[in-house]
Symmetry: C2
Subunit: 178 residues, 2 copies
Amino acid sequence: MRKLKTNELGRKSIEEFKKADKIPVAIISDNIRSMNNIGSFFRTSDAFLIEKIYLCGITPRPPHNDIRKTALGADKSVDWEYFENTEDAIKILKDKGYLIISVEQAEGSIMLNKFNINTNKKYALVFGNEVKGVQQKIIDISDFCIEIPQEGTKHSLNVSVSGGIVIWEFYRKFKTTD
Amino acid sequence: MRKLKTNELGRKSIEEFKKADKIPVAIISDNIRSMNNIGSFFRTSDAFLIEKIYLCGITPRPPHNDIRKTALGADKSVDWEYFENTEDAIKILKDKGYLIISVEQAEGSIMLNKFNINTNKKYALVFGNEVKGVQQKIIDISDFCIEIPQEGTKHSLNVSVSGGIVIWEFYRKFKTTD
C-alpha cells in the first residue's frame, strides 16, 4: 500500500467547497475557549461538509494565527458567523427548522449509538466550553441531548475529539449507506 | 434535561479501570510529536477502554505536565510502553496475534465505514506524525490501511480527532450492538 501524495487526495478548492452540497448540519460553539479546539472544529467541518459554524460568546473568531495553525486554512472554506449570545444563534436555527442537539451528559440524554438520525431533518449540534460544558439554559431550549458513552476514569473527552466523533456519525448517516 | 454532576457520571477509579475488561485494541503512536495530541489519545483511550498505548520514536512520554494538562490524569489509568522504533512495537503485537491497521490515506486503503471489524480478532491501530503521517515502512508491514473519508479542501483531520473517530468505531463495534 503506497501512501498518497497531497495532489492525489482529490482536495476541493475553496471555490469548489463553497459550491458543494453540504450535509444539513450546523455546529454551534457555546463558549468554546481554545483557538486549537476551534481550529480543529473548522478542519473537521471542512472534511465532513458541514454547512456553517456558529461561534458564540467567548469563542475566538477567524482571522487569527492561532486558529489558522490548527485549522490549516479550513477557516476560509467553512462558513461561519458570530453571535454574542448562544440563544440568538439557536433562535435563528430553530426558526429555520433545525433540531437543536446539545452534546452533553444530562438526565435524559440519548447515547450517540442509540440516537436515530433522520435524514429528512436538519440538525444543529451544540458543543460547550472546555470546563463548563454546554450551559444549562442552552440545554433547556434544546430538542435533545446526545451523550458519547464513556467508560473510563474521566468521562471527559476533549471537545474537539467529541466534535469529531459526533460530526462523523452525522456525516456517515447522511453520506454513506453503512 | 438536567446536566449531570461529576459525581453522577459513574467514573471508575484508577484501580477499577486497571481491572476492567478492555476492548482488544491497542494504539501505536508512530512519532506523534505534540503533547496535546498524546494527552488527548490518553483521554480517548481511557473513555473507550483501550488496552494499551505504544508510544514510539519521538512521541513524548508521561509523566509530563503538558501531557497531563490534556490527559487530565488519564495518563495514569491507561497502560503504556515506550519503543524507540515503531517496528519493534509492531513485531511484538504481531507475535501476539494482533492485526496491524495503519490509519492513513494510501492506495488500497479501506474507507472506515466499509472496514469490517471482526470481534473475534485483536487490533493495533497505528497513528502517525502530525506532518508526515504514518511512515511508509510501517505501512509496508501493516495488514490494512484504514482511511477516514474526507470531502473538503484539506483531507487532513487533526490526528487526535482521527484517533477519536477510529477508536470510537472500534469501541462501538466491540461494546454495542448498534
